[in-house]
Assembly symmetry: C2
Homo-oligomer: 592 residues x 2
């Protein structure tokens, strides 16, 4: 059975010592003193370690079942769901006006990392509800909000997002699901949606589906899409459940991972739906939630890396095999623990330096979202919109890679179900795909976000890195050499790549588009380099202040690993980008 | 249901036009004219496409079952096994003296790629038999050979390799399985072996286990290990099956992939075993088969990439989503096929350029093995021993990556079981682990192979690359620029890395060992760069000779992609290596 230890101390380091959230001058952040945050994280950690983690392999092996239209979740999921509700976790950052606790999003992310590391498939049920909550909260009428939000925040009702159809996923302009206006102001929704996570299940009394559909006669393509609330059970005026709506789960997808979450085919057969937001502006409504939703998936990616790393580490410290070539470390045993071997350490350091950097990046991004929303800060909004595809794409690609590396630490044991590593690999894999494949993220970054407001936000990013280096250099030779110089070099690679796009993308957009994926990775490395430099500073400050704890020296050493051994990837990505579109586009499709 | 098309034309290109095997002056190779090879590949292709590939998802979903000591393989496996036997495929490269066809190993690899791409789990049954055959053939007595080989070559009996025990895999010196000498000259074998592929099943009448065990009183550790033949059924003097031996399958491993192959816990309870080769020289016997066995696993790695790529390509040509930004390609359809999009092409080209390079490298290596054995060529033996860990480690890492990339091409469909891609990912994953994890391969390469005979073989490799460049440069400016110059630069990175090890490894072996994994990858890229340059030359030659087929232009374009977009990884690996051991080794084990 795999282990999970809530990394509370590491999270507090990021929140309290690196981001210094309680001093961040964001409404609501002044409540986030270290003690309060620690108390919340301790509770979330207990739930994650004791309730969710033990259910993770159960959910994987049992999966969900569909019988006569009823989906049953794995044994124990209902109990765990009730414990989540009882703890008020589902409404942690939700609007107090509707019963939420109104905490900042950054705290939701810290707690969310624990829930996802311990049981990703389970946590998706409330994750989807949170997404639907956000859409209704942002775009619903007062009546809709009053009807749906309190029960969704409580978890009594859950939510879903219905976008994909069999013939269209990325290209939503092709949607065929129809919404026919009815005399009572509602719409009759008809069509089939696929890959609907948590589309049907036995955890909540009602399921509030948000469905993208086209109202006949509207504009073609993406501009003619509207968003509808389509509840599984219609809601009576007094808030009680009314009749069953004409929608049903037509099948469960058999898939590689996240077996504990029901991935449903949803059939809408003239179901009663209610327009949310403006007619034909459904995509805009979806986009307003996108930064949070995509950051949430980036979080899932590295969070699987976190738990995978923990298990790889436990194995490496326990498994005796071979001897340290520089001198026996465990003379009383038949062999040394494999953590003595340089290549095992390389692997572990790779995992560790990524997941800790990714956590800092995600929390930093969550703080930026809070700043954008709570301070109505347009610069923050621009910055997080720019970085969202990086957070989603880079952290899920590398998060998946981390689970694979962790699996490798265990050798043959990593391939068996017994040790649990292979589940982390299978579960992490979906994060690279859903909420926009990582290829789409890279196109969003290069084709859309780079050019927003005349490139203002990416320039702001470069300035931020430059200013950071300028402010901090010259105080400590080792820190300059180990952190600031590599960061500067990596940032220069990123700027050079951006320049290449500007100079060659006008001539032929494919010169930019065929480098987009590498650009996303290059960008991700620079961001994690920046995060490690920030963490290094904070660790140095603590040590300078007399902290004798190895914790801070370890942070510095882990950061040095990242700078020395991960950051050099930027040069490779730049070279690929600079090779242009020619080798990518040369072949006729028929000659592949 | 996934597709598989036997890539006969691509294989013939490598065998006949790049390696020019029929002119290679290796005994047995003169029979390998293009027509003969094509006829054999056509037959193997039919079997692979029509019999093995359709069984691949069946094997995955049904898996193997153990009941009362009897292991049942998935439906259809027995029939397919009989067809393999009837076709004589199991003895293709086996010794004619015992009923084999005596074909070169290189041909066995080409056929093997098809079998593995179409059904890896199934092909492992005969693969293991082949390994056991090789050990008995190399080290058995004449009587042992006469007793076991003919029926193993025929497939009537199968074979296994028993190395791993619960407490030891990599570090076989810790083996506890005992072999007590008996009065009749046999040994009583007692102990438990785990992860025994094909350890028990219903495909063959008898299973010949090769078991590593220790004879009491022998030297400690790895030097006290002997190898034994331990048949499931003892064999009577007339060759008929005698009594059941005291061994049994104690359980089947539940694992991430290769479900169609039974991974067994094997319990030996005083089973009758027969020493093979010299007492205490069991490891040496294992090592003689290692180059072939490890090349075979490298082949498995890229072969899963081959079939994954084929399915990604089929999807990309069929799936309509979005429009080509440079102009609509499919005006009559609702959208363009996704292969028009630069990032989809980047992904496909990455897959294609790897698997075709890997095939050339593997066949080239197989030819080197043939040259080593059939010509008793010590230089060839030295070269293939050097490159074996590169073939195994690099091709399985990148082969797995290729299956992941291919899965990504399909977006959400790639995550579902229906399309089959996720099975290729799960099946490919084991190749990075078994037959020595890839970490172990990198240690073998850097810690052992580089220094053999005073570094003679690695110097020979560099000379080979240098000579190749020298011989071919100056004839075609574009070829020099696109192929030879990148190859030269990559080879220089490899030499620089080797130099770093020489200069810093003496001081501290960890400076070499912590760079071993990156060195293996750096080496692999140089090898594939060399292969692409060789393939580029052959394609140019065909075009110069008037071939109008797009086939050759496609080879050149694919090679250019590899050189421009994959080879730049060498610089990253070099930088990591040159950062030395410090960041890898700095942390105390307790501080991870």
């Amino acid at each position: 059975m795999p282990v999970y230890h809530a990394p509370t101390k590491d999270m507090l380091f990021v929140l309290d010592e690196v981001l210094k959230i309680s001093e961040a001058d964001i409404p609501g952040y002044d409540d986030l003193d270290r003690e309060t945050v620690q108390a919340i994280l301790d509770e979330a950690g207990k739930l994650s370690e004791n309730v969710l983690a033990p259910l993770n392999p159960v959910g994987d092996s049992q999966g969900c079942t569909l019988e006569n239209g009823v989906v049953r979740t794995p044994e124990g999921f209902k109990d765990a769901y009730e414990q989540m509700r009882a703890g008020g976790w589902m409404g942690l950052d939700a609007d107090p006006e509707y019963g939420g606790q109104g905490m900042p999003y950054v705290l939701n992310c810290a707690v969310g990392e624990m829930f996802v590391s311990s049981n990703m498939a389970f946590n998706m049920y409330q994750g989807l509800t949170h997404g639907a909550y956000s859409a209704i909260h942002a775009h619903g009428s007062d009546e809709q909000k009053a009807t749906y939000l309190p029960k969704m925040i409580d978890g009594e009702w859950s939510g879903t997002m219905n976008l994909t159809e069999p013939h269209c996923g990325t290209d939503l302009g092709l949607i065929r699901t129809k919404a026919e206006p009815q005399d009572d102001g509602s719409y009759a929704i008809s069509g089939q949606k696929i890959w609907i996570s948590a589309g049907e299940h036995d955890l909540s009394e009602n399921i509030i589906h948000l469905v993208l559909a086209k109202i006949p006669g509207g504009p073609d393509g993406i501009k003619g899409i509207s968003l509808f609330i389509v509840p599984k059970f219609l809601v009576n005026e007094d808030g009680s459940l009314g009749e069953r709506n004409s929608l049903s789960c037509g099948g469960l997808e058999e898939k590689m991972g996240i077996h504990g979450n029901a991935t449903c085919v949803m059939n809408y057969d003239g179901a009663k739906g209610f327009l949310i937001g403006e007619m034909h502006k459904g995509m805009r409504a979806m986009f307003t939630m996108m930064n949070e939703a995509r950051l949430g998936v980036g979080l899932q990616g590295y969070a699987q890396g976190v738990v995978a790393y923990q298990n790889a580490l436990a194995f490496a410290q326990d498994r005796l095999q071979g001897r340290d070539v520089t001198g026996v470390k465990n003379p009383d045993g038949p062999a040394d623990p494999i953590i003595v071997h340089p290549d095992v350490r390389r692997n572990l350091m790779h995992q560790k330096s990524f997941v800790e950097g990714a956590r800092a990046f995600t929390f930093w991004g969550a703080q930026m979202i809070d700043r954008a929303h709570r301070n109505e800060d347009a610069a923050a909004e621009g910055m997080i919109s720019l970085l969202t595809p990086v957070i989603k794409g880079f952290l899920t690609d590398k998060g998946f890679d981390t689970t694979v590396l962790a699996q490798q630490t265990l050798g043959g044991s990593g391939f068996t179900k017994e040790w649990g590593l292979e589940q982390f690999v299978r579960d992490a894999r979906i994060t690279m795909i859903y909420e926009g494949t990582n290829g789409i993220q890279s196109l969003d970054l290069v084709g859309r976000k780079l050019g927003v407001d005349g490139g203002k936000h990416v320039m702001a990013f470069f300035d931020m890195v430059k200013d950071f280096i300028k402010e901090n250099k010259g105080q400590d030779e080792a820190f300059d050499r180990d952190f600031l110089e590599p960061l500067k070099a990596a940032s220069k690679d990123l700027q050079t790549a951006g320049m290449y796009f500007m100079q060659n993308g006008m001539k032929n957009p494919n010169n930019a588009l065929s480098g987009s994926y590498d650009f996303m990775h290059l960008f991700g490395h620079v961001c994690l380099g920046l995060m490690w430099a920030k963490m290094g500073l904070a660790a140095k400050a603590a040590m300078d202040a007399g902290a004798s704890d190895d914790f801070y020296a370890t942070k510095l050493a882990t950061g040095r690993y990242y700078m020395a051994r991960q950051l050099p990837a930027t040069g490779m990505h730049l070279k690929r980008i600079e090779s242009g579109a020619e080798t990518v586009m040369e072949l006729d499709a028929a000659n592949f």
